[in-house]
Amino acid sequence: MSNHTCRLEQALLLVLLAFFSAAVLAHGVDDSTRSFLQQNSGVQFVPFLYIGAKHMLTGYDHLLFLVGVIFFLYKSRDVLLYVTMFTLGHSITLLWGVLGNIQVNAHLIDAIIGLSVVYKGFDNLGGFKRLLGYQPNTRLMVLLFGLFHGFGLATKLQEFQLPEEGLLTNLLAFNIGVELGQFAALAFILIAINFWRRLPSYERFATLTNTLLMSAGFMLMGYQLTGFAVL
């Protein structure tokens, strides 16, 4: 019993820490970036590259999903394959969403992105195999949720009426920036995870880590759905 409460406390502490660090990196677009986006005109390749990379590196929702995706991928070939699926998914909808001027509610999309984190945590626990009796195609699911992440990226850019002039180039720069940011974030995550994997605690904490992942996903969902309801 005391062992249980101890574990719960541990979990709570970790979640709180995760939350506070997340709050510091408030996930949106900061003020200086905002005023740049509102005043910019014409092709601005490097600035958009930078904004894309920064958005991904500070985007804890995307990063949590990535952590979930690569948590049990031990071969670099698999990591590459899954990350490519994710990249493919979010690039399609980022470009399509902005160029096609697809209007989706940012809160709902961000709630679905939260759901993708819950999904991945649950999936890593073998939840679908246990519950449905079979494993949904994980590659396809990563692609599918990648599509939603891309819409999320698109809504961040659509908040600003970006001028038509140079839109495609700016958008591509943003997209490339997102991939660079993802690559950089992935490098850190992989180093940390590979280091941790050598320790016996990795397996022992796998259940706890993925439970936390689910919990963080639920928090993102609650946060965004409330935002949808009140704003």
Binding site: L16, S35, R130, T207, G217
Partner: protein, 175 residues
């Protein structure tokens, strides 16, 4: 991908994840982000000030920056046989004192305002005449763009000197 926990652990994990998330949402996230504080804990931790200060601060960059008192002397040219519209962004009850004069010829003008966000093409005229100079002031009856439509029926461009005093943001020549 072979980490598969047994059913009871799975249920425990899912329930624990949900409970932790709900607790964090109700006590921390919602109070801090939206000032929604059903438990009162957010208030006691002082987290609700975050959402309150966000509500109170006028730094929403999407809104028009607040008008400030300013003076501007502007030179505007109306091309031959063309009409142009020169507008100022003003909040309701902002006041502007103006004086304009042409380089000689008289122009037909319509000093008017259009409410912000209006799509019906509605506008309210404050003065319509054909003059080569005019001095006056007006107070914006609503938020929106306010200014002049000048029409040049001559075959030569006409230059206007416009002096503005008051609370406004220049939008400039509207196409």
């Amino acid at each position: 991908m072979d980490h598969s926990v047994n059913l009871s652990t799975l249920i425990k994990a899912s329930v624990a994840a949900t409970i932790v998330a709900v607790i964090a949402l109700l006590t921390l996230i919602l109070p801090a982000e939206y000032n929604i504080d059903p438990t009162g804990i957010g208030q006691r931790l002082g987290l609700t000030v975050l959402a309150q200060s966000a509500e109170a601060s006028p730094v929403d960059p999407e809104s028009v920056p607040e008008s400030t008192e300013s003076q501007q002397v502007l030179e505007i040219t109306v091309p031959a046989n063309k009409g142009i519209e020169y507008k100022l962004q003003m909040e309701q009850y902002d006041k502007v004192t103006y004086e304009w004069m042409t380089d000689g010829s008289s122009l037909y003008f319509d000093l008017h305002g259009e409410p912000e966000g209006d799509t019906t093409g509605y506008f309210e005229s404050y003065a319509i005449a054909t003059l080569d100079t005019m001095k006056g002031s007006f107070t914006a009856p609503f938020n929106g763009s306010h200014g002049w439509y000048w029409k040049n029926t001559s075959n030569n461009p006409v230059a206007i000197q416009l002096i503005l005093n008051g609370q406004f943001q220049i939008i400039g020549i509207k196409p």
